[in-house]
């Protein structure tokens, strides 16, 4: 049975990746063809010709006058997926149509609906407006992960691993040793995990980007909206500084670390990562530093999770793992994901029917 929740919005790509040319990506085990129309709209259709299933993303298939022409026999499709021409005859079979996918471009991200198109509600897409805001500068990347998406969710919901896996980058002793608080809203579909370190060592990632020296107040507030969007609201400030009652926070540096966790297959994942900051907006050196270091951190996770995936695939049925306090948020996320996929979760009870 699939562990991938369907009838959900997933990030398929960055908006900047989709231009007026054919672009292919497998999302939730479905090969999908994207392109941007002349009017600037991103469209998505199944990436297999209905005739002999040749991938339309593969040369010599090509985009001609806003239509995709199959490189095998010339079947030609419009941006809505309808076949408009077949070779050697004037009649186009009525069923000749690619499967179109609902797509929404929002906050610099291309979201795609995987499931019944009739259920696609764009208002359910979680937002990260700072990714497209002039008040922030964002660096980003995407790494292929040869592991199931749930392992990345586990990883990101428990940041105590930073101390061990990411020492010298973002990990310091205080991350693993500071208690967390966890909130779960089943109806809204949010898992929120807070770790507020009010007197902590400043890791190089933040010392070099903010210029803060010595000890800092470091707040990590995770807001995960299963299945895809993970936001880490990171607040870096001098020790003793707290936000004003009106919400302003002039002494702090804010870094919004965003992940879009999109299953490619049951055992592989598109690991989209973004780092948005509200300081040093035009400083190219800070951008380059954050991009390089965050990618290094992501690759440390990728390496570990790739190993974990192989271990899990080779383990006997019924392996029992152990969970401790740091896993409280991760267990909540697993439970929500399992419910979305119609499964009973491992090591976490399913939510009661509502």
């Amino acid at each position: 049975m699939s562990i991938i929740p369907r009838n959900q919005w997933y990030v398929a790509a960055y908006g900047s990746e989709i231009r007026h040319e054919l672009f292919a990506r497998t999302i939730c085990d479905e090969p999908i063809l994207f392109w941007r129309t002349e009017s600037g709209e991103v469209v998505a259709n199944s990436d297999r010709c209905v005739h002999r299933r040749f991938p339309l993303s593969r040369a010599p298939s090509r985009l001609v006058d806003g239509k995709v022409v199959c490189g095998y026999h010339g079947f030609t499709y419009g941006s809505d997926g309808k076949c408009v021409a077949v070779p050697g005859q004037t009649r186009v079979p009525r069923t000749a149509r690619l499967t179109p996918y609902p797509v929404v471009e929002l906050d610099s991200l291309v979201w795609i609906w995987i499931g019944d198109p009739a259920l696609a509600d764009p208002t359910r897409i979680p937002r990260a407006t700072y990714l497209a805001s002039p008040d922030y500068t964002t660096v980003r990347g995407m790494e292929p992960l040869r592991a199931r998406f749930a392992l990345l969710v586990d990883n990101l919901l428990d940041l105590s691993h930073e101390t061990y896996l990411h020492g010298g980058y973002i990990g310091t002793p205080e991350v693993a040793s500071t208690p967390i608080s966890t909130e779960v809203d089943d109806e809204a579909g949010i898992v929120y995990v807070s770790r507020h370190m009010d007197d902590a060592e400043c890791p190089p990632f933040y010392a070099k980007s903010t210029g803060l020296q010595g000890r800092i107040a470091r707040w990590q507030d995770i807001e995960y909206t299963p299945p895809c969007l993970y936001k880490l609201h990171s607040r870096i400030a001098p020790v003793g500084s707290v936000p004003n009652p009106d919400g302003t926070d002039p002494d702090a540096y804010h870094v919004e670390v965003v992940y879009a966790i999109t299953p490619e297959t049951e055992h592989s994942t598109h690991d989209f990562w973004m780092v948005a900051r509200d300081f040093a907006l035009d400083d190219e050196a800070v951008s380059a530093f954050l991009a390089e270091n965050n990618r290094t951190v992501v690759l440390q996770d990728v390496e570990a999770l790739d190993v974990l995936e192989q271990e899990i695939q080779g383990e006997p049925e019924g392996y029992q793992e152990l969970s401790i306090n740091i896993d409280t948020g991760g267990l909540a996320a697993r439970r929500m994901l399992a419910r979305m996929a119609g499964q009973a979760p491992r090591n976490a009870p399913a939510a009661p029917a509502r």
């Binding site: 608080s181 909130e183 089943d186 809204a188 929120y192 409280t328 267990l331 976490a348």
Partner: protein, 79 residues
């Protein structure tokens, strides 16, 4: 600033929010159901089993009493 870390205030404002606080200075977790029932745990799996069993085993303790006196240690709902 003192060295103490205050218990994090609630963030989510829904009607069915579960809250789990790591009891400071201990290894224990305090689970707070949306019905107001609370219980201390040392295992997050057992904690979730209890929370999600609502209303089974949940006693609406700490109902705000109309009488004066110190308020129970519960957080106000956020605006």
């Amino acid at each position: 600033m003192s060295g103490g870390i205050p218990e994090a205030p609630p963030v989510l404002g829904g009607d069915r929010v579960y809250r789990i606080h790591w009891v400071l200075g201990t290894d224990r977790l305090r689970a707070v159901c949306h019905c107001g029932s609370e219980r201390i745990f040392e295992d997050p799996v057992e904690l979730w089993e209890w929370l999600l069993a609502h209303p089974d085993g949940h006693e609406p303790a700490a109902v705000p009493a109309p009488s004066p006196g110190p308020a129970p240690a519960r957080e106000p709902a956020p605006a």
